[in-house]
Amino acid sequence: MISAKIAIKNLNLWYSDFQALKNVNTTFVANKISAMIGPSGCGKSTLLRTFDRMNDLIEGVRVDGQILIDQENIFDPKMDLVKLRKKVGMVFQRPNPFPLSIYENIVFGERIHKSNLKRDQLDESVEISLKSVLLWEELKDKLKKPALRLSLEQKQRLCIARLIAVKPEVLLMDEPCSALDPQATARIEELMRELKNKYTIIIVTHNMQQAARVSDDTGFMLLGELIEFGHTQEIFTAPKDKRTEDYITGRYG
């Protein structure tokens, strides 16, 4: 595929002796939402965390194979991790705003990546980022308030805004709605659809309905293998693999 934003080639990953990813191959296209589904422990979160090399933080992790983002192998020893993580942002399962003000949360990325920033630049980036997650109207008068006082949904939006402020190209979302109620989940999904025009979004979810609702492509993982990856509609209506069919029809998982 020509417009592959991310290409995975023969990716294997071990936690010490345990092989968590087995020979994964696929590509993700820009400006689409790709969902990774599968039973817990299937390696979908592990896969997500390889894209920005968050697995590096865990001791005893060994990777082989390649992940190319814009044709650049991220496991190359010369790869600049800071640059990679600016380009590939991550939203976590539990909303994790920093125990700072709302304002400081959003400008965090800029503060660490750039020096001598002007006040009005920061102000502008706060406004743009909050607007893009539809929080600006709600929070514009409360920017100095601690972020930890926000509701869960607001926190998760803030975490997305915090990413947007560093101008990433890829958004990784690790079960971003699992701490939220159904209404908040619906609104975050709405936001994701809006964001996909600008970003490549990969979402990990254990919620098959969510994958079906929100994604363009879906991959099904089982025991570290990517069993099947394709258009969401095909995966859910006419899966090629028996195991995928069993999973989406609820036979296990």
């Binding site: 968050m54 800071v82 600016k86 976590f92 994790n96 705003p97 660490i112």
Partner: protein, 287 residues
């Protein structure tokens, strides 16, 4: 039957709880009763701000400002030394040190806490005192700064272990969030972990300082014990605590001197109480 047993046990535990409160109240009342008697002969202002402490001259001069200044100087010095080292050590243990080294360091800190203060004082007397004397070319090495250095060692274990606890309990998801935004290890520590643990660190520092102010034996041995207004950190001083320890034995019970020492006790009590309450406020602020 079972109910009866339960209620007896409950009553016993209640009694234990009340007993500790009861004794604290008794001690406090005794301190007040003896200490406040000093104000029959001297005003509060002259007691706190009086510049000379000659308790057995005739008439006795009972100004404790030199002693307060002595405690203050030694404590400030100890704080300046122990806070950066202690907090730095806590950051290293909580965030940077590999697992093995972390365990070794923690044991080391615990050992430091286990050294009796008289032993530390003794070691200070034969090592730090001559060192200070020769470095600064002083007539005596028994100075406030010697006491500060020694007390810094005593404050350190308190500061390190409580601050390390505070740093360690910063949720991992904050750190992950910072790393995922491309922050380096130090940026994560400096911008996320430290602010998140700040109240615990302040509490650690306060408790460390509380330990320094209350310390008696080591300071008595190495600060020179001169109850005069100190003009620098390189001069001999005497702290509030050392004064009580040194003079209580020879003060005539019921004399002005005797009451004045209890007065000092009240001052010390108030200082430690304020420090502990502040530390407590910070420790529980986020809960």
């Amino acid at each position: 039957m079972r109910k009866l047993k339960e209620s007896i046990i409950e009553k016993l535990i209640l009694l234990c709880g009340l007993a500790s409160v009861f004794f604290v109240v008794l001690i406090f009342l005794f301190l007040l009763k003896e200490g406040l008697a000093v104000f029959k002969t001297i005003s509060l202002k002259d007691f706190i701000l009086g510049k000379s402490w000659y308790p057995i001259s005739e008439p006795a001069q009972l100004g404790i400002l030199p002693l307060i200044m002595g405690s203050f100087l030694v404590t400030i010095g100890a704080a300046i030394i122990s806070i950066p080292i202690g907090v730095g050590c806590a950051i290293y243990i909580a965030e940077i040190a590999p697992l093995r080294l972390k365990e070794i360091l923690k044991v080391g800190i615990e050992l430091l806490a286990a050294i009796p203060s008289v032993v530390l004082g003794f070691i200070g007397m034969v090592t730090i005192v001559p060192l200070v004397k020769s470095i600064f070319h002083l007539p005596t090495g028994l100075t406030a700064i010697s006491g500060s250095i020694m007390l810094a060692f005593m404050a350190m274990p308190t500061i390190v272990s409580i601050a390390e606890d505070a740093l360690y309990s910063v949720p991992k998801i904050y750190k992950e969030g910072a790393f995922a935004l491309g922050a380096t290890h130090w940026q994560t520590i400096y911008r996320v972990v430290l602010p998140a643990a700040s109240s615990g660190i302040v509490a650690a520092v306060m408790l460390g300082i509380g330990r320094v102010i209350g310390e008696t034996m080591a300071v008595m041995m190495i600060t020179g014990n001169a109850a005069v207004m100190p003009n620098s950190i390189l001069a001999p001083v005497r702290t509030l605590t050392a004064t009580i320890a040194a003079e209580m034995g020879e003060a005539v019970v019921g004399s002005e001197h005797y009451f004045a020492l209890f007065g000092i006790g009240i001052v010390l009590f108030i200082i430690s109480f304020c420090i502990n309450v502040t530390a407590d406020l910070f420790l529980h602020r986020n809960k």
